[in-house]
């Protein structure tokens, strides 16, 4: 460890940033794989089935009791799924616009992964802050990157050069643009209260004044529902509604390219869960316990903070999955009506009321 102290500050910064990026990337990828497993298991339980319980690599035989139990839980299923995606034939139809067809899956995944960069997923380990980039305009960065995610879907529909994908991508981009407005407006009251766009500042504020979900329940509800629309999840999965559009924008995709869309969806779910935890549930803090609401002074406490953050995030992931298997799909006009004529006015009213309260009582 002493060798690190001999490096220049810039070199240390680069080293630690690279380390954090690597670890966060690995964790997000693993989380995506296991989110798919949880999705399959939860859907199975809800529909009174068993779910994946067969995948068993050779070394399971050497684990006496735990082995079969892990197999039953489907712990090895994600590896099999991933391998399947990699090894399947990657088919490119002859009529597609090749450049866009190839670009679209990548453009879908990259923004989803970039959003995680500004989220403080813990206080600190040693003297390192547990956030990749502590930007002063953190939240604007997130919204900017998220808004670029639309291009992946638009280009997938355009590049596929076929009717159902095109309809799916048109639906999706209209839906995402509409709900982005509601989402963006729903968080403005938070900044009115915290007087900062920095996500670490917002967590600090919540540690002192209580969680945002208690102060801004309306903003939370709007954000949560808009997050469902932004990630194209049921009840708002119009873009890919299989009964109408076969599979929507990814109908023509196969193998790893299809897997990238899949990955993008789950990475987006993880990113929006992390955003909700940070904005509304106090991030890595817990109320009533001082040790858990102040920056960590030991490695163990730092790890506990990260654990708290992940537990909260897992909660939102379960909600995402649970809702998908409990609710039917909206009709397209209902979706647009909800976005434009209910949420946007509500969010605007919330801004005005919060601004009035802040102006009257905070001076």
């Amino acid at each position: 460890m002493d060798a690190i102290n001999y490096l220049s500050p810039t070199a240390q910064m680069i080293l630690f940033s690279a380390l954090k990026i690597g670890v966060v990337f690995g964790v997000v990828m693993t989380a995506v794989a296991y989110a798919v497993l949880v999705e399959r298991k939860v859907s199975a339980w809800i529909q009174d089935r068993v779910g994946p319980n067969r995948t068993a690599p050779f070394f399971v035989d050497y684990l006496p009791v735990i082995g079969p139990f892990l197999v039953k839980l489907g712990i090895f299923q994600p590896a099999a799924d991933g391998l399947k995606f990699l090894l399947k034939e990657d088919f490119t139809p002859s009529y597609v616009r090749k450049v866009y067809f190839w670009l679209a899956p990548a453009i879908t995944v990259i923004p989803a992964l970039l959003t995680v960069a500004v989220i403080p997923f813990g206080s600190n380990l040693g003297s390192e802050k547990m956030v990749i980039a502590d930007l002063n305009v953190g939240i604007l960065y997130t919204f900017g990157i998220v808004s670029l995610g639309v291009y992946g879907i638009v280009l997938a529909g355009y590049g596929s050069n076929s009717k159902y994908p095109f309809l799916g991508s048109i639906r999706s981009s209209a839906q995402m643009i509409s709900y982005e407005i509601a989402m963006g407006m729903s968080v403005i009251p938070i900044f009115l209260l915290t007087e900062s766009l920095n996500l670490s500042d917002i967590i600090r504020y919540q540690a002192e004044h209580g969680w945002m979900i208690l102060k801004q329940p309306l903003a939370f509800v709007i954000f949560l529902i808009a997050a469902f629309a932004e990630t194209n999840r049921l009840p708002f999965d119009l873009p890919e509604s299989e009964s109408e559009l076969v599979g929507g924008y990814h109908t023509e995709y196969s193998s790893m390219k299809f897997a990238l869309f899949f990955l993008g969806e789950y990475a987006n779910m993880i990113a929006s869960s992390a955003m909700m935890v940070t904005l509304f549930l106090g991030g890595w803090t817990l109320p009533f316990v001082d040790a858990l609401s102040l920056p960590a002074n030991s490695l163990l406490l730092g790890l506990v903070h990260i654990g708290v953050f992940f537990a909260k995030m897992a909660f939102f992931m379960i909600v995402f999955i649970w809702v998908r298997w409990m609710l039917p799909r909206f009709r397209y006009d209902q979706l647009m009506d909800l976005g434009w004529r209910r949420f946007i006015p509500l969010a605007l009213a919330n801004i005005v009321v919060t601004a009035l309260v802040v102006a009257l009582f905070n001076n």
């Binding site: 305009v137 900017g144 808004s147 291009y151 048109i170």
Partner: protein, 170 residues
């Protein structure tokens, strides 16, 4: 590391110019969607230039509003119009003339303002560094009237757009 930022500036400025050129005159493709995508790349590299100036707020808003919202709607319209005959190389003389004229006007304005500007000692960028608050103050205190006029202009455009799309006006 002054050299490194200089290098980044030239790289980003070069990219901005290159992408801008490819937006209007792409030798490889006359596809309007490609032009639109290159415009998005131009906007993103300009956001990079803003970051170099420590104007993070401007950079974020640039990406959020122009790349994320305006260009998506553009792309939408282009894709739905499906401009088949426009893919052929043909120039509308009036459009070229008017375009050249407005380009000249913008260039003139830019050159004039660059000539007029007195260079400030380094450190002027400090104010913009994440200071969204300072920017808001500036907008709502010293430049309130132009800001409000712009807002009304946008509102008029919105109302106009809705009016045009209504078919059964009485």
């Amino acid at each position: 590391m002054p050299q490194f930022t200089d290098l980044l500036f030239y790289a980003l400025a070069g990219l901005t110019l290159l992408f801008g050129f490819l937006t209007v005159l792409n030798p490889l493709s006359r596809n309007p969607v490609t032009s639109a995508m290159f415009l998005v790349l131009t906007i993103m590299s300009m956001a990079g230039l803003f970051v170099l100036l420590h104007a993070f707020f401007l950079a974020a808003v640039q990406v959020l509003v122009y790349a994320g919202a305006v260009m998506v709607v553009f792309l939408f319209v282009i894709m739905l119009l499906d401009l088949k005959e426009d893919e052929r190389r043909h120039f509308n003389k009036i459009a070229v003339g008017l375009g050249g004229l407005s380009a000249l006007a913008i260039a003139g304005t830019l050159v004039a303002s660059i000539v007029k500007t007195v260079p400030v000692a380094t450190g002027a960028g400090r104010l913009a560094e994440g200071e969204t608050k300072a920017l808001g103050r500036l907008l709502f205190e010293s430049h309130l009237l132009p800001f409000e006029i712009l807002s009304v202009l946008l509102l008029v455009a919105t109302v106009g757009a809705i009016l045009i799309t209504k078919k059964d006006l009485r």
